[in-house]
Amino acid sequence: MNGKRAMSRWNMTRWLMLCALAVVGLFASPSAFAADKVVLKDGTVLTGTIVRETSGIVWIKTTTGGIETERMVLPDELKSVERDAGAAKTEAPAEEKADDAAGDQPANGIKLEGDEPEYKPGVPRALVLTLGDEQNGHMVGVYMTAEIVRRAIPTLEKELGTDRTGILVLRVHSGGGMLLELQKLSDVIENELKPRFRVVGWIDHAISAAAMTMHCVEEIYFTTDGEYGGCTAFAGGADKPVEGFALEEILYMMEKISARGKHDPLLMRSMQIQMPLSATIDENGNVKYFPDATSGEMVVNPDREVLTLNAKSAERIKFSSGRADSIEELAKHMGLPEVQWVGKRVRGYPWPISKAEEMQIRFREQTKADQAAEGRLWESYGRRLAAAQAAQERDRASFVGQARQNLERIKAIFRNNPNLKLLRFGGERQYREWLDEQERILRDLLK
C-alpha cells in the first residue's frame, strides 16, 4: 500500500468516524429534543433543557449556533416556565459529571426532604433563617449577603404572613468578612425585615462584620457557646489596621447602627478599638457603660483588649436576653407560650427548614461549589482559549465551544452571587469590560 493511498484511507475512515460521532453528538446535544421554555419578564424566550431548579432559580441549557450555553434565571427575571414533559433528559458526559461533583455543582448537597406540619390559624409563626454555616461557608459578603436575604423576602411573607405577627429568627454563624456588605445587610434588616416581622438575633458565632451586621437588632439571644464581637477593621493583614479618617467613618457608621439596635455605642466601640469598658446595672436593671475599666461595677472589657462577648458575659450586661440551644428554649425566652415553627423537619437539622431557609442553604452550597470551581474554570477557560488561538481552522470551533462553555459557567457563578465579582474583578464595571472583551475574542476566532 503506498503512502498516499494509506493516508487517503485513514482520512476517509477518520471522516466517517467523525460523521458518525457528529450524529451521536447531535442526538446527545441537550437541546436536540428539548423544548422546555423559560419566558423572562423582558420578553426573552429561552428554549432548551431545564437542567436544574432550586428555590425558584432555574438553569436552562440552550444551543445557539451549535454552541451550548447554560443560563441561570433568577426568580426576579422569571415570568413563566413551559415544560416539555416528553423531552428526554440527557446527562452530562460522565467525566464532566464526576469532576463537577467536586467542582461547580454542590457536592453532597444536603437532602432537605421532610414533612411540613399543618399550621393552626391564630398561632404566631416563626422560622429560623441562617446567615452563614460551618459546612458551606459564612464569610460576610460572600455567603452572608444582603442580596440573598432580600431575595427571600417574598417567600418569608408567604411563610410568616404579612400581618407582622411573624417571628424571623436570624441565626448567625460567621467569622466576619467584607466591611462594605455590612451596611447593605444592616439596611435590609432595618428597612425591609423589621417593618414586616419581629426580628430576633440568635447568635451562635458572630465575629467582626457579622456582629456589626446584627447590631441593628434589639432582641438578641445566644447559644451556650455563642460569641459576638471582635469588630476591628483591617485590610489584608494584621499590619494593616484601618486608621485615621477611614476608621472614624467606620466608628461613626457603627454609632448609627447601634442606635438602630438601641445599644449603647460604647459597647460596639470597645469591640472595634482597644477601649476598656466597664458597666453598672442600676436597681431598675438599666445598664450604664463607662469607657474605662474602673468606673463601673463590672469590667466588661479589660485594658488593651478588643471586646468579644460570650453567652455569659452578654447576658450579664443584658445585651443578650437569654441562652438558648434549641428552638424550644428560644421560644421560652421569647415569651411565646405557643408558636408554630415553619418548615419541614429534616434529619440532622435542629429546627424545621422553611422554603426561605432552604434558599439560603442552597445559595451557600452553590457559592461554595462555585468558589471551589472558579479558579479551575478560569484556568480551563484560559487553556481552551489559547488552544483555540493555536488550533488550525478545522479544530478551532471545538475549542471555542469549550471555552464558551467555561465562560458561561463563569458567568453563572457571578449571576448566582454578584459579590464574587468584587473579589475577582474589583467591581461590576471591570467585570463587564472583561466579559465584553472575551465575547469579542471568541466571536473573532470564529470569523
Binding site: 467523525l18 460523521c19 460521532l21 457528529a22 451521536v24 453528538g25 447531535l26 446527545a28 449556533g65 451549535g66 454552541i67 428526554a88 446527562e91 458526559p93 460522565a94 467525566e95 459529571k97 464526576a98 469532576d99 467536586a102 467542582g103 460551618e134 458565632h205 451556650t224 457557646d225 455563642g226 460569641e227 471582635g230 476591628t232 494584621a238 499590619d239 494593616k240 489596621p241 478599638i273 483588649e305 478588643v306 468579644t308 462577648l309 460570650n310 453567652a311 455569659k312 458575659s313 434549641s326 434529619r347 437539622y349 435542629p350 471551589a372 479558579g375 479551575r376 484556568e379 480551563s380 487553556r383 481552551r384 488552544a387 479544530d395 470551533a397 471545538s398 465551544g401 469549550q402 470564529l446
Partner: protein
C-alpha cells in the same frame, strides 16, 4: 458544516473522557439516559453492573429513585461513591439483614454497615431508650492517637451515630491524645513548655458533640445523652474537647492544657488587630467552657501567658480572681511569666511551671474542675454507677476507630505511592502511547482525589507539606489543584494530533 464538526469534536471529547472515567476510582461511568433493571438475589456483597460492562462490588449504603451509593474497597482503601441508576445495567444485591432506621443516616467510610450491626436496642427505639430494666446503656469511645489524625470528626460522628442507634444514654469519651511532635521515628513527647492554641480541629470535633448529637437525639435537655470525659492526655488542641462537659474525670497522670501561646501565636502587626483575633479565639474557647463549668478566668489563665490568676476558697468553693494573692488562704495559679517569673527548666521538667495553667489531676480536683480521679475504665464505670447496672452498647466502636485509623494509614501509603508513580509517567512515543500515558495520569489523579475526599481530614498540614500535597485556605488537602491538573491533561490530549 462547522456546527456538525463542533458537535463531532465535542462528542469525541466526551467519549474519550468517559472512557478514562470508568477506569479510575473516582470516575463515573458513561451516562445513557435509560432506566436500569434492578434485581435482588445472590449472597455476599452487592454488585453494581455498569452499562459499559464494568462491575463494582461493595455494600449499598443508600439509594434514591435516581442514584445508588455504594461503599467499596480498592487497594485497601474504603471509599463511597454515588452513581446514577441511569448508568447501571443491573444492581445485584447480596443477602443481608433488614436495613435499620439509623442506617439511613449520612455517613462516611467507617459508618456501620446495616448487616454488621448487633444492636442491643432496636433502632426504632433509639433516642428514646433510657435506663431500661437492664440498666443504663452506655457507649465508651477511646480517643487515642494524634489529635486531628486518628482523633478526627468522622469516626467520632460515626461512633455517635452507632451509640444513638443502640440507644446509649451515656457517652464516655476517654481522651488520650499523643502530645508528640514529628512523624515516625522522630516522634517524641512534647514538653511542658510547648504550647499550641490550635482550635480548628477541636471546633469540628466539638460540632459533633454540640450540634450533631442534638440533631439526632433531640435538642431538648432531657433528650440529650450524658457526655462524660476521662482525661489522660488533653494537651494542645485536644484540651478544647473536654471543656464541653461538667462531667470531667482525670486519670492520675492526666493533663489538660498546652494552649498557653494565644498571645504569641498571632504573629506580629497592629496590636489592635491582633487583640481582635485573640479576643475572638479566646471567646470561642469560652463558648466551649460555658458548657463545661469552666470559668472564663481559668480559660484565660490557660491561654494567655501574661494573665495572672489566683484563687481563694469561700465556703469551700473556689473563687478565682485576677492578680496576685494578698491575703492568707489565697493561692497563685499562674503568674505573668515575665522575667524573674518565667518558669525554670527544673519546674517545667516536673510539670510544675505556672506561666500558664496546666490542669493536672490534683489541681483540677482542688479547683473543682474535675469530678474525680480514676485509674482505670472499671473504676470510672464504678464511679458513674455503670459497672453493675450499665449495659455497654459499644460493640462496634473499635471497628469504627480501628477502621478509620487503618484506612488512614493505607490511604497515606497509597497516596504517596500514586504521587511517586504519577511523577514517573512519561508522555512520549506514538500518539496512542501518549494518549495511554495521559489516561494513566488522569486515573491516578482520580484515585488521588478519591483518597483525599475520604481521608483528607486526617492528613495533618505538616504531613501534607512534607509530601508536597497542596493545602487549601482551611489547611486541608486541596482537591481543586488535582482537578485543574486533570483538565490541563485533557486539553493537552485534545491538542495532541496523530
Amino acid at each position: 458544516m462547522r456546527r456538525k464538526h463542533t458537535a463531532a469534536m465535542m462528542a469525541l471529547v466526551a467519549g474519550m473522557t468517559g472512557l478514562v472515567g470508568v477506569c479510575g476510582l473516582g470516575g463515573a461511568t458513561p451516562a445513557l439516559a435509560q432506566s436500569s433493571a434492578t434485581r435482588v438475589d445472590g449472597s455476599g456483597p452487592d454488585t453494581l453492573i455498569f452499562r459499559n460492562g464494568n462491575t463494582l462490588k461493595g455494600e449499598i449504603v443508600s439509594e434514591t429513585e435516581k442514584t445508588v451509593k455504594i461503599k467499596s474497597t480498592t487497594n485497601g482503601i474504603t471509599f463511597e461513591m454515588e452513581y446514577p441508576k441511569a448508568d447501571l445495567l443491573e444492581i445485584k444485591r447480596g443477602t443481608r439483614a433488614p436495613e435499620s432506621k439509623g442506617a439511613k443516616a449520612d455517613t462516611k467510610p467507617t459508618a456501620p454497615a446495616a448487616a454488621e450491626v448487633k444492636s442491643e436496642a432496636k433502632a426504632e427505639d433509639a433516642g428514646t431508650v433510657g435506663a431500661g430494666p437492664d440498666g443504663t446503656k452506655y457507649y465508651y469511645l477511646s480517643l487515642k492517637g494524634e489529635f486531628g489524625s486518628q482523633i478526627s470528626q468522622t469516626p467520632i460522628r460515626d461512633a455517635v451515630d452507632d451509640a444513638y442507634k443502640n440507644g446509649a444514654r451515656v457517652l464516655i469519651f476517654e481522651m488520650d491524645a499523643n502530645w508528640t511532635q514529628g512523624e515516625g521515628e522522630m516522634t517524641q513527647d512534647k514538653k511542658a513548655f510547648q504550647q499550641e492554641f490550635s482550635m480548628s480541629r477541636a471546633e469540628r470535633i466539638n460540632d459533633v458533640i454540640l450540634k450533631h448529637i442534638p440533631s439526632i437525639y433531640g435538642s431538648a435537655p432531657e433528650d440529650r445523652p450524658q457526655v462524660v470525659f476521662w482525661i489522660k492526655n488533653a494537651m494542645g488542641g485536644a484540651a478544647f474537647v473536654p471543656m464541653l462537659s461538667c462531667d470531667r474525670y482525670f486519670h492520675p497522670d492526666g493533663k489538660m492544657g498546652g494552649i498557653g501561646n494565644l498571645t504569641e501565636m498571632m504573629g506580629t502587626g497592629s496590636e489592635r488587630v491582633l487583640e481582635k483575633w485573640r479576643g475572638a479565639a479566646l471567646q470561642t474557647a469560652m463558648g466551649f467552657a460555658n458548657w463545661g463549668c469552666m470559668p472564663e478566668i481559668v480559660i484565660r489563665g490557660m491561654a494567655r501567658r501574661e494573665q495572672v490568676v489566683s484563687v481563694r476558697y469561700i465556703d469551700g468553693k473556689p473563687d478565682f480572681f485576677e492578680g496576685y494573692p494578698s491575703n492568707p488562704g489565697e493561692e497563685l495559679l499562674t503568674d505573668s511569666g515575665k522575667e524573674s517569673e518565667q518558669d525554670t527548666i527544673d519546674q517545667l521538667a516536673r510539670w510544675q511551671g505556672n506561666d500558664v495553667i496546666t490542669l493536672t489531676a490534683d489541681l483540677a480536683t482542688k479547683l473543682q474542675l474535675s469530678k474525680g480521679t480514676v485509674s482505670t475504665k472499671g473504676e470510672l464505670l464504678e464511679t458513674l454507677g455503670l459497672s453493675r447496672n450499665g449495659v455497654a452498647v459499644d460493640q462496634r466502636v473499635e471497628k469504627i476507630f480501628g477502621g478509620w485509623a487503618d484506612g488512614l494509614d493505607r490511604a497515606k501509603t497509597r497516596l504517596l505511592r500514586i504521587l511517586r508513580d504519577y511523577q514517573d509517567v512519561r508522555v512520549e512515543g506514538t500518539w496512542e502511547e501518549r494518549r495511554a500515558a495521559r489516561g494513566r495520569q488522569m486515573r491516578m489523579l482520580d484515585e488521588i482525589m478519591t483518597i483525599l475526599r475520604q481521608y483528607g481530614e486526617g492528613m495533618l498540614p505538616r504531613w501534607c507539606f512534607q509530601n508536597g500535597i497542596p493545602l487549601n485556605e482551611s489547611g486541608e488537602p486541596d482537591i481543586n489543584g488535582y482537578l485543574n491538573e486533570k483538565d490541563k491533561i485533557k486539553t493537552e490530549q485534545q491538542l495532541d494530533k496523530r
